[in-house]
């Protein structure tokens, strides 16, 4: 049997106070494979949390089907609706959702008690997940006595103790500080590979999405804008929305003026008059939007004559943590961001020449 989550034509509308109807989830079809780590990524209000809550049963869809491991949990057609407590899912909440009147042990044991597991077995299994989550010795503490990171580890332990096939994560790391967040990401991945559950993980943080996800579904106003691996999303975004949301881009308007002799690349002319060749599988003509990523530019201190060249003056240089400097280069097409290694980067006021490979330029129709 292949355990997996199947969502068919799932829709959820909300009525705003103004009387306006919002399509929080709009006819979504999605298959999540067994043992997969799937990310739901998008800005706030894109419907990613709502989609997660439809899977958990905390919200009821307006229409569609939810199946887990082939079992129908919701089907509008047959009026099936399994309440959250009877679904084979666990959930980790953004604000932890730990019960302040129960100690750590009782918090973790709660899902087992709810399922009437014998108490000897409860003790064993809680001990095991406490060890896995790295919170040994905290069992008798109350949640308020713990740090944010520890609390989220307790919440993780509670989610995995019932050994459900599916664990849902609702922005679990946005309330912990940056250092702990990095650490917990690694722990979540380790837990998942160790225990083998299917993870559905909601976040608005693209770095987190790229690091954790086997696949990422980018959501836009209740619809899946693109579903793919982190690499696919970054290198071949299917829409300007995805390109803008995953990674950083600078963009400019341009017009298609022809094809290069070999026929592999489009030649576009920007509003500022630069000619750039772009490799794209799309059959584009007329008005287009050209996007470039800051780390794909090479910076030169002497004139370059061939390839995609943009000349400009460095108006600002920001030394960033890590290995690179961000240069803002004023060109005929407006300011362009360039991330270059510290040693290579230019200084303010310097004239530079920027080059980019035709395969590294993204192009979309102007109306996309």
């Amino acid at each position: 049997m292949t355990p997996r989550i199947e969502l068919r034509d799932l829709t959820k509308k909300f009525l705003r106070q103004s009387g306006e109807v919002t399509n929080a989830v709009n006819h979504i079809d999605l298959d999540i494979e067994a043992g997969e780590f799937l990310i739901l990524l998008g800005p706030s209000g894109c419907g990613k949390s709502t989609l997660l809550r439809l899977i958990s049963g905390l919200e009821t869809p307006d229409s569609g089907v939810v199946r887990i491991n082939g079992r129908v949990l919701f089907d509008k057609g047959t009026s099936t609706s399994v309440p959250p407590e009877r679904r084979p899912v666990s959930m980790v909440f953004q604000s932890y959702g730990l019960w302040p009147h129960l100690n750590v042990f009782e918090n973790i044991a709660y899902p087992l008690r709810a399922r009437r597991v014998p108490s000897a077995e409860i003790r064993q299994r809680v001990e095991r997940v406490v060890a896995v989550a790295g919170i040994e010795g905290l069992e008798r503490q109350f949640p308020t006595q713990l740090s944010g990171g520890q609390q989220q580890r307790v919440a993780l332990a509670r989610a995995v103790v019932s050994a459900n096939d599916v664990v849902l994560f609702d922005e679990p790391l946005s309330n912990v500080d940056a250092k702990v967040r990095d650490q917990l990401r690694i722990e979540i991945l380790r837990l998942q590979s160790q225990l083998g559950f299917t993870a559905v993980y909601v976040t608005h943080d693209q770095d987190e999405a790229m690091m954790l996800g086997d696949r990422i579904a980018v959501l836009d106003r209740g619809e899946i804008a693109q579903l793919g691996t982190p690499r696919e999303l970054y290198e071949t975004p299917e829409s300007p929305y995805v390109a803008r949301f995953v990674g950083t881009v600078d963009e400019t308007r341009a017009t298609v003026v022809g094809r290069d002799p070999a026929g592999h690349a489009l030649i576009v002319e920007t509003a500022g008059g630069s000619r750039i060749s772009v490799v794209s599988e799309r059959a584009l003509q007329g008005e287009v939007v050209v996007m470039t990523r800051p780390e794909r530019w090479s910076i030169h201190h002497a004139p370059v004559t061939h390839g995609n060249v943009l000349e400009g003056v460095v108006s600002a240089a920001h030394y960033l943590a890590g290995s690179r400097t961000e240069c803002i280069v004023d060109t005929v097409d407006g300011p362009v961001r360039v991330w270059a290694p510290h040693g290579i980067a230019a200084t303010e006021g310097e004239s530079v020449w920027l080059t980019v490979e035709p395969t590294d330029v993204l192009v979309f129709g102007a109306d996309e």
Partner: protein
Amino acid sequence: MSHQISDATAAISTSKQRSDGFIWGARVISTVTILLVVVPLALMVWKLFLPDGRFNLSAFGDLLSQPWLGKMLGDTLIVVASGVVSSMVVGSVFAWLTERTNARIGWLSRLLPLLPLFMPPLASAIGWVLLATPGPGVLNVWSRELGALFGMDVAPNGPFNVFTWTGVILLYMVALVPQVYLVVAAALRNVEPSIEEASRVSGVGPLRTLVKVTLPAIRPSLISAALLAMASAFSLFSVPFLIGTTAGVDNLIVRVVRITTDEFPARTDVASALGLIVVFFIGGSWLLQRRVNRLARHARLEGKTSSASTIDLGWFRWPARIILIAYIAATSLLPLYGLVSVALQSFWSGEITPKNFTLKNFAAIFDPSKNLFNSLANSLVLGVLTALVAMFVAMVVGYYGERRPRSWLARIADGVIKLPAALSHVIVALALIIAFVGPPFRLQGTLILLFIGYFVLYLPQASVSANAALSQLGPILTEASLVSGAGEMRTFFRIVLPLMGPGMVAGWVMVFVLAAGDLTASVMLASPRSPVVGFVMLDLSTSGTYGSVAALGVVITLLNAVVGGAVTGIGQTLGKRTVAPSRRLLQIQRSA
């Protein structure tokens, strides 16, 4: 390890899940509660317009032919209007002083709104009678002695007379100030301090800032406070009955009670017609208030980013504090002193002397063969029971509504249990009399009828406390329980109830204190066979047995204070672990 855990999964998924007992229980409880509130009221309206099954307005004709109607309406409106205006001024100034200036004293700002809770309205009204009756009133005795000390001649009956228009209006004000204070102080606390600070650094002085910035920002709350005070003023019974009657100030509520209880056979139809006027005023003010609240929600300034810098009153700081403390002392300690001193005298002479000092008034209360003892016992038992049942029902209905927001039953139940607050106690009691006194129930003069009365009357307070506690709890903790595989029943008893403990305790104290000290419903629903404190006190005070009344007043005030204090104390120790995190959670949710 992964393997071991997966083994256990099989056991879990095959284990039997129980059905949704909670939702079914909540449906039953909601339905019974709705019927208990709505059916008597519907019956009252039915009997008013269709007394013999046919449309008939004779009750209104009878009412219009009463010679006292015009003066009664005029008197009521004058007293209500002056009470509301004066309490708005005093309550708002006090709220501003304690929330926004350096005259603030921490304990005082918490104490002021609680005081009237612990002293039942009847006890405080009787306290004022004992203080300011011409002649033997405690204040008059004091002034005469003070006058003699300085060689001044004070009128033989003393300068104070509570049985006047001024006396009635002042006591209305005293009764309403805490409610105004509560609303205005909360609003001032929630005003984003930066809007005031922005005005101050723009070169505007503190008083102009108050008038130009702060007051406009809390205007919806001010209107809301005035409407709340108006609704309370219309249903106030103790002051107009005990003092207004002697002062010649007629009153709507007093008339309804008199028509129902003094006349035989009771003219419940005329009383209902009068009641309709009360409903018109109180219901109208509640509807207005709801509108204002809805507007206020849009205009509300979210959260508070920094603690407000208080306004320095300069030399006026201490005078302001003294005024605040003096007001609190005068409105709580003075009437209590009046009660205590009269309770300790064998006959009311205005002063305790070795000759007339006695404890027999207190002894009588604890003599099981006396009605006084029965009334106290009945009030306490009814108070405890009503508070328990009302809080439980309010929690169940509140949580049911949260879990099933689309259920029409949950929505109706939520609206209906707040309905009694929009009606006067007198109206609710009247409706219960119409519904339960005749066949088939024949509950006249039973403790069951009193229990139903208290339950219906104080459901709104229970519901407000329960909903406040629920909203502080937030949805995440219950959702975490549901996705942990726990059903609604387990979630309610293991998560919701324990976490709402402190909020519930506060609600319980509130309902207990209100029910144990209830006056209006008790007067209409109790009988010599089922005496309760309010009923007996009123009975004794009309027959002039002030020693016993005063002693009973002292005992019930002390009991309320002790029970309230003890239970809130326990609640706070219990709540140490639970309140802080739920607040934190709230902050988290706000910031998210």
